[in-house]
Amino acid sequence: MARPVSTDAPDSTTVETPDRPEQLGPVFKAAAGPAKWADERLGIAGLARSNLRKVFPDHWSFLLGEIALYAFIICLLSGVFLTLWFRPSMAEIEYEGSYQLLRGLPMSEAYASTIELSFDIRGGLLMRQIHHWGALLFIAAMFAHMLRVFFTGAFRKPRELNWLLGVGLIAIGMIEGFAGYSLPDDLLSGTGLRFVDGLVRSIPVVGTWLEFLVFGGEFPGDIIVARLYIAHVLLIPGIILGLIAAHLALVVYHKHTQFPGPGRTEKNVVGYPLFPVYMAKAGGFFFIVFGAIILMSATMQINPVWKYGAYNPEQVTAGSQPDWYMGWVEGAVRIMPGWESHIGGTTWSWNVFLPAVVLMGLLFTVMGVYPFIEQWVTKDKSEHHLLERPRNNPTRTAFGIAAMSCYAMFWLGGGNDIIATQFHVSLNAVTYFLRAAVFVVPVIAFIVTKRICISLQRSDIDRLLHGAESGIIDRSPEGGYAERHVPVSDEEAFMLTEHQPRKVAELEAGEDETGVSTGKGGLKERMRVKASGFYYADQPEKLTSEELAEAKAHILGHEDHAELESNAHANGSQSEDSQSEDSQSDEITAGEDEQAGTTPS
């Protein structure tokens, strides 16, 4: 592939020897007293010593989880403001507030107080919009973070439990979001509740009883808003906070994963210390997230509840959709054929039960068990702290893209009416297309992604074997043109070769030579070998170090010696320089020391 050698100068910084000031500055002097007082009572110096210098690696994709965390904090803050005025009651009142187009209409207290928040409370509408945009971003960032973890294999040992905590956070975050947008009791949120009511009722045999349990009688009843409110403001945020704490504690305990690169191994973390670098970066990023959400909330209208009107079960509006994270469930229900069966006086609503209840269960089950499936296939019990580049595990990457494409097809189904009106296509055509697409598109996506990943691996090998294009064209005496190639930098070569390609498992003999069963020829083992073949059969072989050395010599030793050598020399000396600088760069390589220092006792 036509990629030039990196023109970026390699990382080189002057050695920073932390020169301790002889004389403390005014700030330190002023802080010394209170710090001592607190330390004598809380022992914070010990905590700070081990944790403030904790090293984190640098990569933009490691900040996706931070976006989720900050969005959640913003939701907590704005949510507290909203609780001061929101009245979680379905008692019917006549609206006499300042929004004229609803004047005199009967509505619930919940809806009336939401309108009041939007029009009569100073800053109320902005706070509502911050809360709503923040919630959308919270869940979107969680999904983006999850995809990053998935595609880089960060869920492997020892992080399986943290992956499960993350899956739980997404599931509970979705429920939290749903409970939240059901509170205003406007036409849209009421329609969403109606949807969930149908979902609950579709559960075979016990559905009706469950509905009565949830709604305290027939839909809509008069207590669901109060129940959702307490779940939304107390119960679920509490669980989320607990899970976040556990999630972050495990990140600290396991230490952060890092992408492969020079000097990075399974036993160290290369990056910068929490204090001061990440304190500043993370703190700054919090304000960026905060600012972005407020900017969106101040300029982009979200959920104009006053236009929807109060919820009235006999009304519905075209374009009723849930918030984006429930859209795929909505879509699945929309494209499902109307199957229903009646067995002995009970109704089995497959048309709702399968796409809503079963499918949602399926997504979270697959997400939850995936790390264990992969572990079973590879029988890999070793710890992994180096991330895998997505191309280096083609089957996993392909599986992830296939799952995403399947999700996307369901997602499109949730907006089939908007697609029909905006792109002037038939609603039925969209629906019929998606019925097939949810099965076909993931298969295509799987095959295409896997092939792309393998091609990328081959191009990496190609780059190692034949070098990078130098941009210098030579004309031979015969008149032919050829571009010179130069070996890739040692850093890049390191990055391209650090992964460990897996071998397909081989079936061991079911019996040893004396005829005693080894217990390894059973059906389970045969399935495992098959799965391993499915995963790793097409994996290109990794280059050996001899091959690499040979390739480098070969590239350098090409025809026109004199010219190339001078070129190669320049290149070589540059990489040598960078290497020597690298070893003394200010990047901190936290090895066993750091590991020992932070292992909680």
Partner: protein, 288 residues
């Protein structure tokens, strides 16, 4: 009495009695007989003739020479002038091509020509007449209608409050009867088989009322027995007030509801923050 009885054999008696009976019948008929639909000007015979000529040129190929209908288009006998006013005034007719649904477009005929064709079709049989402005609009109280001073202020506020209460009921009626297809903001929605409920934004109240009464294409008929003229006027006024209000809370994002919001949350929110994340990881100690 003598005066009358003595003259009952007067030669003029017969003629006078005949005249009296005729005028009595005439008055009786005038009060009982159904009044013809009246439009602003009232169709004149020349207008009807003019309309017929236009009809034969532009409409007859599909709807038949005498509006009896063909395989290409339905009969127009009995649809009324209001139907013509709606179909041609919104540009749906003449149709450019057969579609799952004939879309609205800029009108082809002038207002006078449409009025003439409407008069011609209206003259064929009874049907939906073109409504008067009072049937589809409400008068909004203006401060100028009330005397100056505090009492005038109070009277004006009261009248305005009354006005909005009626409009709010119109909104409730709109959400009950119309929003299932036309969306809660009247921005339209999808229907099966490539059909759609069109947007009501910027549509004249007259056409909305006509559409309710005639039920064009996919739309069901909402007759005056179901929704009275006053209720229809409140619904139409609600839409006008709704579309006229400023967008509280920022850009409307097209009014697509949560689908649009989700799209922007991902594109601007996550997309923008990823740009910042890339920036912030390149900044600081690492930057050269």
């Amino acid at each position: 009495m003598r005066l009358l009885s003595s003259r009952r054999r007067h030669p003029a008696t017969r003629a006078l009695f005949l005249a009296l009976a005729l005028s009595l019948m005439g008055v009786l008929y005038a009060t009982v007989a159904p009044t013809a639909p009246s439009s602003a000007e009232g169709p004149s015979s020349t207008q009807i003739e003019e309309g017929q000529a236009l009809y034969r040129t532009g409409c007859a190929s599909c709807h038949g020479l005498n509006a009896e209908g063909t395989s290409q288009g339905p009969t127009l006998i009995g649809v009324g002038a209001g139907s013509v006013d709606f179909q041609m005034g919104t540009g749906r007719m003449p149709a450019a091509a057969p579609h799952a649904q004939i879309p609205a477009k800029p009108k082809v005929y002038s207002d006078d020509e449409i009025a003439a064709i409407a008069a011609y079709i209206g003259s064929l049989d009874l049907g939906i007449a073109i409504p008067d402005i009072g049937q589809y609009s409400m008068e909004k109280p203006a401060r100028g209608q009330f005397p100056a001073g505090h009492d005038g202020d109070v009277a004006y506020e009261t009248a305005l409050d009354e006005y909005y209460r009626v409009v709010a009921i119109g909104g409730e009626l709109f959400r009950t009867n119309c929003s299932a297809c036309h969306n809660y903001q009247g921005t339209g929605g999808a229907l099966p088989g490539g059909k759609h409920a069109p947007s009501l934004e910027g549509v004249e109240g007259r056409y909305i009322l006509e559409a309710m009464r005639i039920g064009p294409q996919q739309m069901p008929v909402f007759s005056a027995d179901v929704i009275s003229d006053e209720e229809a006027a409140a619904m139409i006024t609600y839409l006008e007030e709704l579309h006229g209000q400023r967008n509280n809370g920022g850009l409307g994002l097209g009014g697509f509801g949560p689908v649009g919001e989700g799209l922007w949350a991902w594109l601007i929110g996550i997309g923008g923050l990823i740009c910042f994340a890339i920036w912030i990881t390149r900044k600081g100690v690492r930057a050269k």
